[in-house]
């Protein structure tokens, strides 16, 4: 186990863990947006900046991908951290001014208003959680980043419907600013941001819609489950297959 301190409080974590993981386990608040334990750290949103002192030298690092080590001193609330964190959030609020998650965070860290103009861009904060979840967790590789700098957007190839998208909705669930809508109506699941409309399939037991056709095909190929098994919704599967 590794012993170090966060805000002068002794904490421990196993080797390979990051500052953010240990802090969250210890109930210490460090704001973050692009981090999720399901995917690899990305260090893009820069909200989790903390000050570390190592061998007497202070520097600002991102807590989400900084590996812990013995004797490390972490401070999550110095004046420098606050100044940078507030400005970063203010910059993100320009992009996504209607996000309740961002405004809640703003309240917590003391950002009251946005002094910048330039809402002429997409309200996505480009944290990349959707892209990384689609790549690393689902494995569908249906969406990705396009262009660079302020022109960067998340998109399907050529901004058209992508046959690789299985409309599983993982991207929608993981989005911190909730800008990837997903609707279901008349046996269709729709994800307008990706120009996707997918046919829903009914559960062979309860007859309720539960997944898209592409989703089931994808899972079947990956899991070696039988046609019979795959057509049972998670809810009914609990009773059908459990011994």
């Amino acid at each position: 186990m590794i012993n170090f301190s966060i805000n002068n409080r002794g904490v421990t974590g196993s080797e390979g863990k990051t500052i953010l993981q240990v802090a969250l386990e210890a109930g210490i608040y460090i704001p973050h947006l692009c981090n999720n334990d399901a995917v690899k750290p990305y260090a893009a949103c820069r909200m989790c900046l903390v000050e570390v002192t190592k061998k007497g030298r202070k520097k600002l690092v991102t807590a989400c991908d900084y590996p812990i080590s013995n004797g490390l001193e972490v401070n999550s609330n110095t004046a420098l951290v606050q100044k940078n964190r507030k400005m970063v959030l203010e910059l993100l609020l320009v992009r996504s001014p209607n996000s309740t998650v961002l405004w809640d965070m703003a309240k917590k860290i003391g950002v009251e208003k946005v002094r910048f103009t330039g809402q002429d861009v997409d309200d996505c904060i480009l944290c990349g959680l959707c892209v990384r979840t689609c790549n690393e967790v689902v494995g569908a590789h249906a969406i990705g980043f396009e262009s660079r700098g302020p022109s960067r957007v998340v998109s399907t190839p050529f901004n058209e419907e992508n046959p690789a998208c299985i409309a599983c909705g993982a991207c929608s669930v993981v989005c911190p600013v909730d800008i990837i809508p997903m609707f279901e109506h008349d046996g269709i699941r729709e994800m307008p941001r990706w120009h996707k409309k997918a046919q829903l399939v009914r559960c062979s037991k309860c007859k309720k819609y539960f997944a898209t056709k592409e989703e089931l095909k994808f899972i079947k190929e990956k899991s070696n489950l039988s046609e019979e098994e795959i057509l049972v919704c998670p809810n009914c599967r609990k009773y059908s297959f459990r011994v």
Binding site: P41, Y42, A43, A44, C45, R46, M47, L49, L60, V61, T62, D65, Y66, P67, L80, K83, N84, M87, V88, L91, L92, V94, R95, R115, F116, T117, G118, I125, L126, G128, F145, S147, R148, G149, P150, S151, R152
Partner: protein, 622 residues
């Protein structure tokens, strides 16, 4: 040529070639670097060859590729195409194909100088015959560049003849890997790519980590606008880079290397590829190099040209075939770099320094330069300076010496205003800092950086707010867009600067900029974002009055910011010559012959043509 199987054979080959090389006393060296080629060097070369053949002279005509630096004028890009006659080193500048006849008949046959092709000393207006007497060269210390004018870059024999691969022979026969690393540490060499990390320590760290494979990378992605020293080295002396890498591979224990070159450098790509091929043929690359239990191979990786791909972690991902997006470097590349294996990444110029250090010793190398910045550095001196080109000087030389003594001062009668060092994300330094030594620490302290060695001189017709806006716009477009401060921060910085240059900026804008820029510099993920605010922060620091003028008086003293300036004709000076009236594209100038002209402001598109064409300086910017 056949494979060299041991060190004795290499030494033997060196002796034979050296003797053969020394015998060739007379030759004409045509600089055919990219810049000289653009000016017609290849046509000059062909014309000279034809002329020589028609006279049946036994003169070997050598093409000096890319090394516009050394041969009396090679490096003196502003004077290209350059031709140097050896052994006298008679230096001819701006040579045209039609000059070939004169050069051959007068200089080669009669040993007379072609006066009209000589360089004139701008101070005394005297002709200078020999390249080493030209002030531009006289004040430089050319450790890296001095080979370029002696060799044909694609001929490995030329390189061996001037002592090339002797450092490798020394390293493999007389030194242990640890001794090489100690020598590198003793030399004090710091990375020439920008960050200035000590090379020896980097190698030591990579050697320390156990791994089934380790990699070496040569970063030749040089993307700074106006900088081309890496291109020149790779085009003009690729074997010096290869030799450095082979020595590095032996020291670190890396069997595989990459040279990452941007696609926009076709000649560098070609010459590097030929050099690798030739080195393989001779057994200097490949398995059991010089009969030792040591194998090393180099592959060229071509970059698509994104500026950010020059950032080390982004570059490694690009080699892996992934988008060039930087990642955190809390775990160093020397532990987990390319393909998550220990990797040493050095810049072209850093690698080219290695053979010199091994040949002459780390201690000798450390005797050049300042306490914390050792050796020489190549700068690409461009902008409003008389002598544009590549200059190699010892670390610690004063900016004033570089710009005025070597560079010949400010061009077109302008006054010095500032100099930007270190590429687009370097700071702009004012006149008061001209006596500052050029080294890593001084530049950083002043708010700029060494970068890869760009040096852009700006005269008084440059608007410093506009300069800041230009670079922020460049960096905004080249940001990969991954992290918030760089992507969003630069966008907002550009918005603010845009307002200021258009006359709608406020003092709150300046204050907000002063709050935002340091955050971008602190919170960004990689070096691009961290250094991007430098042009803004330094111009705010050293040229603050210009920002205030733009905001308060809506005035641009340099007459650059079109939205807030207008042109007027001074009645006392105007003679009514109709010149500006005829040239005005929007019909904004009115008047008759021999009557004072006037500009109708509503019609004026502020192109400035009237001012350019007026012979009487009767048009001014207000």
């Amino acid at each position: 040529m056949s494979r060299i199987s041991n060190i004795e054979e290499l030494t033997g080959l060196y002796k034979t070639l050296e003797e053969k090389y020394l015998k060739k006393e007379r030759y004409v060296s045509v600089c055919s670097d990219t810049a000289c080629r653009a000016m017609g060097a290849m046509e000059v070369f062909e014309a000279l060859k034809k002329e020589i053949e028609s006279h049946g002279l036994e003169i070997e005509l050598r093409i000096k590729d890319e090394l516009v630096k050394d041969t009396g004028c090679h490096g003196f890009c502003g004077q290209g195409p350059v031709v140097v006659i050896h052994p006298e080193k008679i230096f001819y500048r701006k040579v045209k194909p039609s000059d070939a006849k004169n050069i051959v008949e007068q200089t080669l046959l009669k040993h007379e100088v072609v006066t009209k092709l000589l360089y004139k000393n701008p101070d005394t207006n005297e002709d200078i015959i020999h390249e080493e007497e030209i002030p531009f060269y006289k004040r430089q210390t050319r450790l890296l560049m001095n080979m370029n004018n002696k060799i044909n870059p694609i001929n490995i024999e030329d390189y061996i003849a001037i002592g090339g691969y002797q450092a490798l022979a020394k390293a493999l026969s007389k030194m242990q890997p640890d001794e090489i690393i100690e020598e590198m540490k003793a030399s004090g060499l710091r990375g020439r790519g920008g960050a200035g990390f000590p090379t020896g320590w980097k190698w030591e760290d990579a050697k320390k980590h156990n791994s089934d494979i380790k990699y070496l990378i040569c970063n030749a992605d040089e993307g700074d606008p106006g900088a081309y020293m890496d291109r020149s080295l790779l085009e003009g002396n690729p074997h010096s880079v290869l030799e450095g890498m082979i020595i590095g591979a032996y020291a670190v224990g890396a069997p595989k290397g990459f040279i990452y070159v941007r696609r926009e450098y076709p000649l560098a790509l070609e010459n590097a590829a030929i050099a690798i091929q030739n080195a393989k043929k001779l057994g200097l690359l490949g398995k059991n190099i010089l009969g030792k239990d040591f194998s090393f191979d180099i592959t060229i990786a071509r970059g698509g040209g994104a500026f950010v791909a020059g950032e080390s972690s982004a570059l490694m991902l690009s080699i892996e075939g992934k988008p060039a997006e930087p990642r955190s470097k809390y775990i160093h590349a020397t532990e987990s770099g390319l393909y998550e294996k220990p990797t040493v990444l050095n810049n072209v110029e850093t690698w080219a320094n290695v053979p010199i250090i091994i040949n002459k010793g780390g201690k000798w190398y450390a005797s050049i330069g300042t306490e914390n910045s050792k050796g020489t550095k190549i700068f690409s001196l461009v902008g409003d300076v008389v002598n544009t080109g590549l200059v190699e000087v010892p670390m610690g030389m004063k900016l004033r010496q570089v710009i005025f003594d070597i560079g010949g001062g400010i061009s077109k009668g302008k006054k010095f205003k500032g100099v930007q060092t270190g590429g687009p994300s370097g700071g702009v330094l004012p006149e008061t800092l001209l006596d500052m030594p050029v080294d890593y620490d001084s530049l950083t302290e002043a708010g700029s950086m060494m970068g890869s060695g760009g040096m852009i001189v700006m005269g008084d017709s440059t608007c410093m707010v506009d300069v800041a806006k230009y670079y922020v716009n460049f960096l905004k477009g080249e940001s990969c867009g991954k992290c918030t401060p760089c992507r969003e921060g630069l966008r907002q910085m550009h918005n603010i600067l845009d307002r200021i240059t258009k006359g709608t900026g406020t003092f709150e804008d300046v204050t907000l900029m002063e709050e935002l820029a340091p955050v971008v510099a602190t919170a960004s993920l990689c070096g691009l974002g961290k250094s991007a605010p430098n042009p803004v922060l330094t111009t705010l620091k050293y040229f603050r009055e210009e920002y205030e003028e733009h905001v308060k008086e809506k005035k641009c003293r340099a007459g650059v910011c079109k939205a807030i300036i207008h042109y007027e004709i001074i009645p006392e000076l105007c003679k009514g010559c109709l010149l500006c009236l005829k040239r005005c594209p929007s019909g904004a100038v009115v008047g008759k012959k021999k009557e004072i002209h006037k500009i109708i402001q509503e019609k004026c598109i502020k192109c400035g043509v009237c001012m350019d064409v007026c012979n009487l300086d009767a048009v001014k910017v207000i």
